[in-house]
Structure formats: structure tokens, C-alpha cells
């Protein structure tokens, strides 16, 4: 018999069953009814099940992708697969370096353009905009996140590509067009998370800075941005994840040529776009190579999430005062 049951029995010598409802004498505590007990237990398990399904999803996808893609590392070898410069699956050349290169180039350019835009938006929303203006701009920024990526693709294809084509004397399919479209797509992720980080700084900090004779600009760049630094870096990392994983919009504007181009305005391909292009017809080792690429993408996302978690830990230990 457990100790709590003993205790309740000691205080209620008349009650034989501690879980049953008891009217009791005046002054004694009522015990938990059996119905409540069962309901609580059922709900607890229901929520546990929900969480379990989500976790199982991740585990199953990981296992599936891992098992299907593993042979490419075993048979072609990690060096030839990751470092090979020739992606010609029809003739048995499975080097995905041009695709990794493409993903990195497209992502970096998008971050270089998108980050200042997004952090600037966040600073505007949190420090400069009046509540009314913020009430309009913030939902508009959030709406950007809700637009299906194929629409971004259309926009890129029909509006941005011709402009890039005219400026570069080419067709406009290439990394530059991808940068522009991805830069807009990552703005909501980075802007909203950075704004949250800025707004979580206590107002006392702002007041202290103004009371020291700082201007708004000095307060922003000397106190607020440094204070929100880790939150903003988190936001950028998540934006990175969005940029490297984005497929549809990129597919529509980068030209999809799996080789390393001479110029950023020439066609290029990324890991995600190549998977989509090849998956419908790929078979055998070609198909395995696509799963191998998926393992790389999976690894990158996991790495980014791990980085964010590490930084959050760093932040909370800093908040606790070193």
C-alpha cells in the first residue's frame, strides 16, 4: 500500500476504498471520484498519443529516407557522391556537388538580401511603428508566410525573371532570380521571430537608454539589437532552413541545370529542385541517389534545429546571469 493511501486512510478510518466517492462526516475531505480519475487518465493518454504520432512521423520518415538512400553512400562512396562534380545519372555519374553548391549559393544570396530586409522590418515593427501602423504591417508580413510557394514562383517567373533577363542579357533563369524570390519568402520567418525577440526586451531597458540621453537609433543599435542578438540569430537560422528547403518557387526560376555555372545569372539547380525534377522517372541507383540527397537535406535541417536549441540554451544561461 502506498504512503498517500495510508495517510488518507489514517485520516478517514471509515473509508475502505480511497478512490470511491464518499459523503464523509462534516470536516473530512472528499476523495477523488472514480469517474474523474478515469477521465483524467484517458485525457492524459490521449495527449500522449498525439505527441507520439508526431514523433513517430519524424522517426518513420527518417528511417524510410535513410534506408532507401543509404546504398548510395555504400556503393558509390561518400566522396564520389558528395564531392563529384558530374551529375549524369543516365551514365552512372552520381556527383551531387553542383547541387550542393547550387543550394548553398541560392540560400546564401537569399539570406544576404533577405536578412537586412527582415531585421529592418522587425525593428520598424517593434520600435518605430505606432500601434496602428503595426496593426496593418504585421498581419501583412505574416500573410507573406501564408502565400503558397507556387504563387511566389509565378511572380518570380513572370515579373522578376524578365527584369533579370534584361539586366543580364540572358534568359533570367538563374541564382539571382532565386535570390530575389527567396529573399521575400524568408522575410516573414525572420521578421516575426526577430520582432518577438525585440519585444521581449523589458521596456525598462528602453527607458533607461532614453533617460541616459540616447537617441532612438542609438538605443536600437547599442542596446536593443545586442540584447535580442540570440533571438535574431535564431530567426536567421530558421530563415536559412526555409531557404534551403524551399522547392517549388525556386524550381520555377533557377533554370534547373545541374552543373556549376560561370555566372549567377546562368541556370543552376539545387538539391530540392533536382529531386523534384528527377523523381518521376528515376529508377535504380538514380533513385537511390535522390534519397541520398534527401538524407543530406534532412541532416542540414537537423543541424539547424540543433543550432537553434543550443543558442536558446545559451540565451537562458545568459538571462540567468552567466
Amino acid at each position: 500500500m502506498t504512503r498517500s493511501a495510508e495517510d488518507s486512510q489514517a485520516s478517514m478510518p471509515d473509508s475502505a476504498d480511497p478512490v470511491s466517492m464518499t459523503s464523509g462526516e462534516q470536516g473530512s475531505l472528499r476523495l477523488v471520484s472514480r469517474a474523474t480519475h478515469i477521465k483524467e487518465l484517458a485525457l492524459k493518454n490521449l495527449f500522449l498519443l498525439c505527441a507520439f504520432v508526431a514523433v513517430m512521423g519524424v522517426v518513420l520518415i527518417f528511417a524510410f529516407v535513410g534506408l532507401r538512400g543509404w546504398p548510395i553512400f555504400a556503393e558509390v562512396g561518400p566522396i564520389a557522391f558528395l564531392g563529384g562534380a558530374d551529375w549524369s545519372p543516365t551514365v552512372g555519374q552520381y556527383g551531387i556537388w553542383p547541387l550542393i553548391y547550387g543550394s548553398l549559393v541560392v540560400m546564401s544570396g537569399a539570406l544576404v538580401i533577405g536578412t537586412p530586409l527582415a531585421v529592418g522590418t522587425a525593428i520598424f515593427l517593434s520600435e518605430i511603428a505606432t500601434p496602428r501602423v503595426r496593426g496593418i504591417v504585421r498581419p501583412a508580413v505574416e500573410l507573406l508566410a501564408g502565400i503558397p510557394s507556387v504563387i511566389y514562383g509565378f511572380f518570380g517567373l513572370l515579373i522578376l525573371r524578365p527584369i533579370v533577363a534584361r539586366l543580364s542579357d540572358g534568359l533570367g533563369f538563374g541564382a539571382v532570380t532565386g535570390w530575389l524570390i527567396l529573399a521575400i519568402m524568408i522575410v516573414p520567418t525572420i521578421a516575426t521571430l526577430s520582432e518577438d525577440a525585440l519585444r521581449s526586451i523589458p521596456d525598462g531597458i528602453r527607458e533607461a537608454s532614453y533617460a541616459m540621453g540616447a537617441t532612438t537609433w542609438q538605443t536600437i543599435y547599442r542596446v536593443l539589437v545586442p540584447a535580442a542578438k540570440i533571438g535574431i540569430i535564431d530567426a536567421i537560422i530558421l530563415g536559412m532552413g526555409r531557404a534551403i528547403g524551399e522547392t517549388m518557387a525556386v524550381l520555377m526560376v533557377v533554370g534547373n541545370a545541374p552543373h556549376i555555372p560561370d555566372s549567377v545569372t546562368e541556370p543552376i539547380a539545387t538539391l530540392t529542385t533536382q529531386i523534384v525534377m528527377d523523381m518521376p522517372y528515376a529508377a535504380g541507383m538514380h533513385r537511390t541517389a535522390l534519397f541520398g540527397m534527401a538524407i543530406i537535406l534532412f541532416g542540414v535541417s537537423m543541424g539547424l534545429v540543433a543550432l537553434v536549441r543550443l543558442l536558446s540554451k545559451l540565451q537562458s544561461s545568459m538571462d540567468a546571469g552567466r
Partner: protein, 272 residues
């Protein structure tokens, strides 16, 4: 009532020149008038306390002296506030420069989330001091004046937030002292910290008046009696109506022989 106030004002002002004078000040938050018809002179290099029940506008009034109310949209100040006979609300006056001369300490200690050193160096850096040796000296001198140097001299690189509440408040005082202000406004500086630290801050205030004019808002009447030379009692008699300055006099007079019945009622704890 207001002529009465004036007679005490001139009486108090006999002894030292006024650092700050306020004439016919009223203050609005949008349509709501928070303060009306305030006239007061703040003696140079002394501690002046503002007391009164919660919501009587003492903090609002305090924030008129460094124009912190400017940051709240929809506020309006009428009347005259002068610092060394200069109108601080005159067109063209730079609130940024004003706030360097009139520093402020808040109820909640609010060090920046950066090192102790950088906290103290913040103001000097804002105003263009770059040389390391000069900053080092200012940091040491300011922490010394805030009676914090001994406790932190070996941990200057540590985050200011890692200090205890009382130490944080003295760090904030050091941060203000680093820009050599002429006036220090203290908005209930001791209500969020432990009693031992309160003692330290009260001692510090007495030391600082060798060079600085201090105005402190406090809920604690014993504190006002202990630290201040002059006391102003504010009261909002009817909710929704603006608050007034009921009585302003030497602290000893306020606490031993108040002229106004309402002051006496408040001092003796009949309300508030």
C-alpha cells in the same frame, strides 16, 4: 491654498539657489488632466522628496524634469519648467542633451544586458568618449561614487544582470553618474530591493548631494523623512480630477507641523 504654497516656497528658497523651478505646470494624458497648477522650486544640491498616495501624479511630475513624458504619445505639458533659468520645454531644446544633465533612476533596477563595464561606459560612449584609458577611469570613478567598486572591481566583465537587486540599482546609479549629471531623478528607487540595500542607497544619496541635486519620489514616508531636506506632498482629491501640490516645505516642517490639514491626515496615516 496656492498662495500658502508660495509662501513656503519662497521661505524654502531663501537658503539655496533653486536648480529647477516650476511655474503653473499642468499635465495632460490625452483628454485626462493629471496635474494642475503646480508651482515649486527645487533647491540645488539637496534632496527633495515627492510624497503622496498612489496615482497622485508624483512620478508623472518627476518625468517632466527630463522630458521622459515626451516618449508617451498624446501627453502635453503646459507651464514653465526651468533648469538653471533655462526653459527646458522651449522650442529647439534637445531632450537628449537635457537627459544627460538630468539623469534618472527607476523603480525596477534596469541594467542593460551587457557587462558591468559596458553598462557604466554606456553614457560616456554615447557622448563620444572612445579612449580606453579615459573610459576605464570614468568607470572606476563612477562605480566608486556609487559605492559599488569594491564589490565588482574583479568582475567588470560579468553581465550586469548577474548582480543582486540592490547592486543592480547601484550599478544604475553609477551608470547615471558616469555622465556627470547635475540633477538625479529617482522614481521610487528602493521599493524593489531588500532593506540592507536600501540603507546603502540612502547613505549614497546623502553623499551625492555634495555635487548633485536629487529629487526622489517615494511611497515610504519614513524614507522621505530620513533622506530629504524638502518635501512636497501631492494629492488627487477626486478620482478623474487632476492632482495638486498640497504643501511644499522643509521636511522637518512637513513631518512635525504641517500647515495643511490634508498633509497632516496623510502623514498620520489617516489615508493613502
Amino acid at each position: 491654498m496656492s498662495t500658502d504654497t508660495f509662501s513656503h516656497l519662497s521661505q524654502a528658497a531663501d537658503e539655496r539657489p533653486d536648480k529647477i523651478t516650476v511655474k503653473d505646470l499642468s499635465f495632460h494624458y490625452g483628454d485626462f488632466q493629471a496635474l494642475t497648477d503646480i508651482n515649486v522650486g527645487i533647491s540645488s544640491k539637496a534632496v527633495t522628496a515627492f510624497i503622496g498616495p498612489s496615482g497622485c501624479g508624483k512620478s508623472t511630475f518627476l518625468r517632466c524634469f527630463n522630458r521622459m513624458n515626451d516618449l508617451i504619445p498624446g501627453t502635453r505639458v503646459d507651464g514653465l519648467v526651468t533648469l538653471d533659468d533655462q526653459d527646458i520645454y522651449a522650442p529647439g531644446v534637445d531632450p537628449v542633451d537635457l537627459r544627460r544633465r538630468v539623469g534618472m533612476i527607476f523603480q525596477q533596477p534596469n541594467p542593460f544586458p551587457m557587462s558591468i563595464y559596458d553598462n557604466v561606459a554606456y553614457g560616456p560612449r554615447l557622448h563620444g568618449v572612445k579612449r580606453k584609458a579615459e573610459l576605464d577611469e570614468i568607470v572606476e570613478r563612477s562605480l566608486e561614487r556609487a559605492n559599488l567598486w569594491k564589490e565588482v572591481k574583479d568582475i567588470l566583465g560579468r553581465n550586469g544582470l548577474s548582480l543582486s537587486g540592490g547592486q543592480q540599482q547601484r550599478l544604475c546609479i553609477a551608470r547615471v553618474l558616469a555622465v556627470e549629471p547635475e540633477v538625479m531623478l529617482m522614481d521610487e528607487p528602493c521599493s524593489a530591493i531588500d532593506p540592507t540595500s536600501v540603507q546603502k542607497i540612502e547613505d549614497l544619496m546623502a553623499e551625492l548631494t555634495d555635487r548633485i541635486t536629487i529629487i526622489i519620489v517615494t511611497h515610504n514616508m519614513q524614507q522621505a523623512a530620513r533622506v530629504s531636506e524638502y518635501t512636497a506632498f501631492f494629492l488627487q482629491e477626486v478620482a478623474g480630477e487632476p492632482a495638486v501640490l498640497v504643501e511644499f516645505d522643509r521636511t522637518t516642517n512637513i513631518f512635525t507641523s504641517p500647515k495643511d490639514r490634508r498633509t497632516e491626515d496623510y502623514i498620520t496615516g489617516r489615508f493613502g
